[in-house]
């Protein structure tokens, strides 16, 4: 059951990652691409947290948790910068 949970969520994570990655390559709209990258990142985080999970009784492996926390902050930073660039680009279009 532990393995199943790990497996299940891990596979979902991988699926989300693949989905996000391919639609990031496929879509042309900038905002959508940013969304897709975030979904892909979330998929990876899910994979890591699933790997860390060791059942309802045992404490999970804290290392991936720390990695994901770092990852979330990094992903936010990148998204914020990307969105600011998009915004600026629109402003130059308007001007």
């Amino acid at each position: 059951m532990i393995l199943d949970t790990q497996l299940l969520y891990g596979l979902v994570g991988i699926f989300l990652f693949s989905l996000g990655l391919s639609s990031a390559f496929a879509s042309s709209a900038l905002l959508r691409r940013i969304l897709a990258i975030n979904v892909a990142g979330a998929g990876l985080f899910l994979l890591l947290i699933a790997v860390a999970y060791r059942g309802p009784e045992i404490n999970p492996d804290p290392l991936p948790h720390a990695l994901v926390l770092t990852g979330i902050v990094v992903a936010f930073s990148a998204t914020a910068l990307a969105l600011a660039l998009v915004k600026r680009l629109r402003e130059t279009d308007d001007d």
Binding site: A24, L47, L81, A82, L85
Partner: protein, 485 residues
């Protein structure tokens, strides 16, 4: 002396922090921290030459639980390259950015980028590498957008998003490796990794992520607009150092953790991609109408050369050949780093002086800017790979290795690549040498022209004539077949 590993990262980072706090003193803070990190890099290489590879366990925790910094000949040389180019580009930047606000923005981001580079070269932990890659990618994209022009913003955004995709692929590989092998430490993984689906998928993900970042054909399309539209000192750093950092990681990963996974077909494929990059990049550079675009396309070609070396290094059992080729590869990388930064810095001077960088309209440059024209020529010599540049020695090893390994197609690539490079370099010089009817007065902008000239001279003379230590630094690095028993 192992503290110098930390200092080479901490100094630029402190510089960045301080220049946020004290924006008016950014010039001084920036220069001081860049010089400090050069001193630290020199100390690192000195110690590595003296004592062999260095490891520094941060926080005193054993690598695996904690994070280690590591320097061997390979990373120490690239660290030194980066510190050297940094000093030149920094001195240049003090004169290039005339507006205080703009200068301050440059400094903070640039010092952050430099810390990322140094952290990347010294990293020994895969997740730590992911963080440095992101730091590098974000700061590079932000610097690309610095001019605020539409093209620059567009290029920066594309650069950022592709970089993110690359980092994500890298992180996916890291996650798989941690799942399967329970460690993030590179040398631990080198011992544990064995051929299998996990290893192969991780290697494929991480390598393709890095290939995007290093702009190997066909993942190169983001590079020319980014490098051609950034401010000159930024282009210099991006072309000379940032793409090289990603390549360094490819090399590091395949020399160490993935060594046991490499197959001749795979390595040959990378070599073939490199070959296409050489031809394609050089051809595009030959067609380029703008000087900075020429320089950017030439970077694509030069990255291709680095990948051409991989079959010689990763798929040979001959230790001498491997060592010679590794030295050649590094010499090519170092030469290109110095030469390309010199080229971009010189291009910046030309652009500021002429108001544009259209190659066909550069007549009279040699009269107005003799030192800069000379820099362009020196950089060109190094890009073609003519003696006495370091790239000549590198190319020599490449050809010799290809002959020894009987990879005949590689000879054709080097031949064509060299001639095309000569074509684009001398097309540029031909226009620059053209006599203007009313030449502008010869002028010199010391703080901009001298750093560029220094880099050009270092690429051609220093690396050409005093590069023997490169090979001794690389001795014993990653013996054939990886570290696996």
């Amino acid at each position: 002396m192992t503290d110098s590993l930390v200092w080479s990262i901490a100094l630029p980072l402190s510089g960045a922090i301080l220049s946020v706090l004290l924006p008016r003193a950014a010039n001084g803070i920036g220069l001081a921290s860049v010089l400090g990190s050069l001193a630290a890099a020199l100390a690192v290489i000195w110690t590595v030459a003296d004592q062999g590879p260095l490891t520094y366990a941060i926080g005193g925790w054993t690598p695996g639980l904690g994070i280690a910094l590591r320097a061997d000949g390979l990373s120490a040389l690239l660290l030194l390259l980066s510190a050297l180019v940094a000093v030149a580009a920094s001195v240049y930047a003090t004169a290039y950015f005339r507006q205080a606000e703009q200068r301050q923005r440059f400094w903070t981001l640039w010092l952050l980028l430099l810390s990322a580079l140094h952290a990347l070269f010294l990293a020994a932990d895969l997740f730590n590498l992911y963080v440095t890659l992101e730091l590098l990618g974000l700061s590079a994209a932000a610097l690309t957008a610095l001019s605020g022009q539409r093209e620059a913003l567009e290029a920066a955004l594309r650069y950022l998003l592709l970089g993110l995709l690359g980092s994500l692929a890298f992180l996916a590989g890291v996650a798989l490796l941690y799942t399967g092998y329970g460690s993030l430490d590179i040398s631990t993984l080198t011992h544990r990794l064995s051929p299998g689906l996990t290893g192969w998928s991780a290697a494929a993900l991480m390598t393709s992520g890095l290939l995007i970042k290093t702009a190997l054909f066909p993942l190169h399309f983001w590079l020319p607009p980014a490098h051609a539209n950034a401010p000159a000192p930024v282009s210099a750093i991006l072309s000379a150092l940032v793409v090289k950092a990603a390549f360094y990681l490819v090399l590091r990963l395949w020399l160490e953790p993935f060594a046991s996974l490499s197959t001749p077909e795979l390595v040959q494929m990378l070599g073939v991609l490199g070959a296409i990059a050489v031809i394609w990049g050089s051809w595009q550079a030959l067609q380029a109408e703008r000087l900075k675009l020429l320089a950017a396309y030439s970077t694509l070609a030069q990255i291709g050369y680095l990948f051409l070396f991989l079959p010689l290094i990763l798929e040979t059992s001959d230790e001498t050949l491997r060592h010679a080729a590794l030295g050649g590869l590094l010499l090519m990388a170092l030469t290109h780093g110095l030469a390309k930064s010199a080229l971009f810095l010189a291009a910046g001077v030309v652009q500021q002086h002429a108001g544009h960088d259209r190659i066909a309209e550069l007549r009279g440059t040699a009269q107005a800017l003799p030192a800069t024209t000379f820099t362009l020529a020196l950089a060109g010599v190094a890009l073609i790979g003519l003696p006495p540049s370091g790239a000549f020695l590198g190319k020599w090893q490449l050809i010799a290795g290809a002959l020894q390994a009987e990879l005949w197609w590689m000879l054709g690539v080097v031949l064509a690549g060299s001639l095309l490079a000569a074509g684009y370099v001398f097309r540029l010089l031909g226009h620059a040498f053209g006599q203007a009817r009313y030449p502008a007065r010869s002028l010199s902008i010391g703080r901009q022209e001298i750093p560029a000239l220094g880099l050009g001279l270092a690429a051609t003379l220093l690396l050409g004539l005093f590069s023997a230590p490169v090979w001794s630094l690389l001795a014993g690095l990653a013996p054939a077949g990886g570290l696996n028993p």
